[in-house]
Every structure is written in structure tokens, then in C-alpha cells.
């Protein structure tokens, strides 16, 4: 019997209206994501990768189509509700790291816990576990602007993991890193996938995309294969 997908996109369309012109960023996109998957989405600049990722990550809503998370259609949820779902089900890793520069490593990792139901007494323990997972136990009390790019991205990964989400979404996670540091980060994702985490990697780099189990190629807002 087939495993139920965690997340399915069904016939997603996303269009933007600029002036009188209609830009179709996504056209009839469907995808199933199963627990433990390592998926990459690859395509040229402007092909619609980020738009797709925002919809998968529930940061954006499609113009038409369904987003089904754990069997429920969440595409029409109100914003307050989507925030709660993002908090518990999705972990983001961004190209630009997006850490709070004034906060310490530990505080950055604890950020998603602030918005969760996790009792406060467990925050530090959970964050420390995640920092151990990304080998940053030694940098717990550093401010994020005291860290190297690779270290910052590992803090971001720890932050994405801390609420034990169903899916980790990474949009060009190596885009701001040199190739050596970049491949260390990728190794980290592979490791996490072996631990059972579901990972979606968005990139324009064909070689990088190949490390995933399933590669989806996107062109002008459509999957091609």
C-alpha cells in the first residue's frame, strides 16, 4: 500500500497582474511529497522556483488549485491559521540566511519556539540538540554577525529543524557560499535526510540538483521531464 503524501499540490496556477499584463508564474503544477523524500526543484532564473516554494511553504496562496497538507486543503486558510501551520510543519532555509543579527546563535534557533506551544523550559534543550546536529555547540553565545557564512547557514538549518517540521524547504541554500562551504551544507542535508527528514531543495544548479532522489525541472512555470 502506498504511503500517503505529507503534501500534495494539485493543479496549481499562480498569476500576477502587472499593469494590464498577466504574468503566469506557475502553470498547472502538481507534485506529491512523501515522508522521507529528498526532492530538488531546478530551473533557470525566473522559471518560478521561488514562487513554487512560497506556495509549498504556505507563505503564499495559489490563484487556483489545491494545497493538501496531511490530508487537509489548506489553500483557503486565513493568515493567522497558516502562520500556525508554517510554525509546526515547515522549516525554511534561505539563500540570505535571514538570521537576527543582534541575537545570539541560541536565540536565533529558539525563534520558531517562541511562536509554538512548546513550554519555555524545553526551548533551550531543543535548540541545543539542533545545534549539536549541525556541529555548532561551540558557537551558542555568539551573535550571528560574528559567524562565517557557512556557520550562519548551519544556524539557519538548526532553526528550520527545531520545531521538528514535516518538511524542510531550502531555497538556494548555497547561493551565498563558496563551493567548499556549499558542499558541506549539502552534506548536512543528505545527513538529515538519512535521519528521516523530508527535504525540498530549490536551485538553479543542475549538478547540485542531482544529489536528490527525485529531480523536478521547472521551465516557464511548468514542470518538464
Amino acid at each position: 500500500m502506498a504511503v500517503e503524501p505529507i503534501l500534495s499540490l494539485k493543479n496549481i496556477n499562480k498569476s500576477y497582474q502587472i499593469g494590464g499584463q498577466k504574468i503566469e508564474a506557475l502553470k498547472n503544477v502538481s507534485i506529491d511529497i512523501h515522508p522521507g523524500d529528498f526532492i530538488s526543484i531546478v530551473g533557470k532564473s525566473g522559471s518560478g522556483k521561488s514562487t513554487l516554494m512560497h506556495i509549498i511553504g504556505l507563505l503564499d496562496t495559489p490563484t487556483s488549485g489545491q494545497v493538501i497538507l496531511n490530508g487537509k486543503d489548506v489553500s483557503k486558510y486565513p493568515e493567522e491559521h497558516l502562520a500556525k501551520v508554517r510554525n509546526s510543519e515547515i522549516g525554511f532555509v534561505f539563500q540570505a540566511f535571514n538570521l537576527l543579527s543582534r541575537a545570539t546563535t541560541l536565540e536565533n534557533v529558539m525563534l520558531p519556539l517562541q511562536y509554538s506551544n512548546t513550554p519555555k523550559k524545553n526551548w533551550e534543550r531543543k535548540a541545543m540538540e539542533m545545534l549539536k546536529l549541525v556541529d555548532l555547540q561551540e558557537r551558542v553565545n555568539n551573535k550571528s554577525n560574528e559567524l562565517s557564512g557557512g556557520q550562519r547557514q548551519r544556524v539557519a538549518i538548526a532553526r528550520a529543524l527545531v520545531n521538528d517540521p514535516s518538511i524542510i524547504l531550502a531555497d538556494e541554500p548555497t547561493g551565498n557560499l563558496d563551493s567548499k562551504t556549499g558542499s558541506e551544507i549539502i552534506k548536512k542535508f543528505i545527513e538529515l535526510n538519512k535521519l528521516g527528514k523530508t527535504i525540498i531543495l530549490v536551485t538553479h544548479d543542475n549538478d547540485l540538483a542531482k544529489i536528490a532522489d527525485k529531480v523536478f525541472v521547472i521551465k516557464d512555470g511548468e514542470f518538464v521531464k
Binding site: 507563505l59 500556525k84 508554517r86 537576527l100 541575537a103 520558531p112 517562541q114 511562536y115 509554538s116
Partner: protein, 394 residues
Amino acid sequence: MIYELYLSAIRSLLSNKTRTFLTMLGIIIGVFAVITLIGVGEGIQNYVTKQFSSLGSNLLFVSPGKRNLRGDPGANFSSNKLDDKHVKLIETYSSDFVTGITPYIEIGKTLSYKNKNYYTVVNAFDEDGFSTYNLTLDSGRFFTRADITSNSRVVVLGSNILNELFSNQDPVGKNIKIGDKTFLIIGVAAEKGGSIDNRAYIPYTTAKSIFNIKNYSSIVMKALDSENVDSAMKRIEIALYRDLDKDEFTVLSQKDLLNSFSSILSTVTLGIGAIAAISLLVGGIGIMNIMLVTVTERTREIGLRKAVGATPNNIAIQFLIEATALSVLGGSIGIGLGILVAFLIRTYANFDATVPLWSVLLAFLFSACVGILFGTYPALKAAKKDPIEALRYE
């Protein structure tokens, strides 16, 4: 979570100390001014009340001219006609209601002893004046009927003059100059607290002859019964109508004076309130302005927080707390400075400026309200930011 938000608010305020300080300045100055002025006003109120109550509440005054304590000050300028005739009239026709009727003259004079000078108010009245003003002796004696009839050059000094001119030595029996005339010191009045201790007392007859004074500053007396002050006042008026028109004199009671003073003070308080409102308004606009800048600067942070699960409400509360922390901190600094200045006034100016608790609480509450009021718009703006736009923001 409120605690985390509070912490992050403090952190972001500390991260740009100069800007935070400048933003709070409006609130600081406003609250500081209000706290200090209320403290001083309260001090004045206490001082005056103490002074009045030390004189006794059944004191009555007849002053020349029409005095309307609340209105037209120009009405005071009619000429002064009060003299002995009127003292006699009151004695004859009101003696069953009042006692201790004394003419009263008030003149500013420099007292000098050896090479020391002291400018003060010299009061002149008759031998009854001492009991009318509830004065008692520390040493020596008061002047008597005999001193009055013989225009004696004798003086009773208030206790503060001892400090100023005699280094606290008993001066009874010594000579002192009032203006350029020499007087014999016959007594020292016991301390009463307040400016009354700075005064010197001489027989009114002496004042008239030596300082060439024709009319009395007022006629002072005591109502026999403090319950009957109003009927006593009526009686005095009727007595004086035999010689004077109704706009040539005014009968006042201690209570009238106190009331008129209170009404002046409450007008001043209202003025202070208006200044406070304006400065808090300006301070609030400053906070709103900076919060709008902050929200724009931290667009990316807002996007990130939303991405990891912050609801619009969470974001709004975060920025509201920051605005409120800013205004409450400013208010607290203003309160602290106000209390400090009141303390300095108390210690160095020998004036009892006290900051009442209600003004501290009110100032605190007001600054919190300013933060909430002017922080709401920027907070809502932050809450409405689209996370995708916010994350893309450079």
C-alpha cells in the same frame, strides 16, 4: 512570549542608543516639566495653607477699595480712605461679633544692626494685634497701650531676624535701625513657621508719625465665634456704610483669601496640564515617526518572523511593546529627573517641593498611553507586511 518580546524590544532600543534617546526626549522633557511643576505647586499650596492656618481661621480683614478676588483687578485702584474713624465705627457697632480690632499697616523696610542689613516687611498694629495674629513671645515683651499712645520707637522681632542680624543672640534691649530711624528692641516673637517669622512689629501710631503714613493697609480683627464669620462680616459692612460707599472697602475672611489663592493655583495647574498634553503629543508623534522608520528597517526581520510562524497579531504586539517601552522609559526618566529636581529644591532652596504619588502614577500611565496610542499605527503597518515581499526586501 511577552517576556521574549519585551527582551527583544529592549535589545532593539539599546542597539541604537542615540536614536532611542532623541526619540524619548519629547516625553522626557514633558513628563519632567509636569512632575517638577506639580511638585512646586504642591509646595506652594502646602506653604500657603500652613501660613493661613497658623493665623487662625476666624481672622477678618477690611481692605480699602472694592476687591473682587476673582475678577477685575483694575477695580482696586480707588483711593484708600481707611483710618481711625473706621476702627471706631467697627468697635462701636460690631463689638458683639468681633474682637481684637486693630489697624494694620504693612511697609517694606531695611532693618540694620551694626553692618548687617535685612530687607523685610514691617507690620504695624496696636497692642491687640499680637493676639489677633496668634503671636507668642520667646523673650522680652510686646508693646502696650502706653507704647501706642506715646508713639514709642519700640520693635518686636520675628525669630528669623535673630538668625539674620544677631547670630541668634538675644537682642532685647539693643537698638536696631528701621530705615534710617532707631528703634529699641523690646521682644522676640516665637517661631511660627513660614514668612511670618521674618517680620518686625511696631506700634501703628509710631509708623504713622515716623514713616508719615496716613491710611491703614487694612483693619484686622477676629470673629468671636468661628461659626459666625459670615454674620460678623455683614455687621462690619453695615457699620462701615455709615461713612464709606460700598465700593470704598471690602470685608474679607481668611477663607476668602484661601479660596482665591486655590482658584489661582488651579488655573495654573490647568495651564501646566495643557503644556503637558502638547509635549506628550509632540513626544508621541516623535515615537510614531521613529517606529515607522524601524518597521521599514526591519522589514526582513518581520518577513522572517512570519515565515517561522509569527501571526500578524504577534508582530503587532512586538512593535507595540517596543513603542510602549520607548515611551514608558522616557516617562520614567522624566519622573526620575522631576523627583530629583524637587529634592534639590527642597534641600537647597528651603522650599517644601513634594512630588505627590498621584502625579507619578498619572505621568507613568500617560506615557504608557502615548506609547500605545502612537505605536498602534506603526504596529499595524508591520503586521500587514506580506512575508514574501518582506523577505525579498533589501
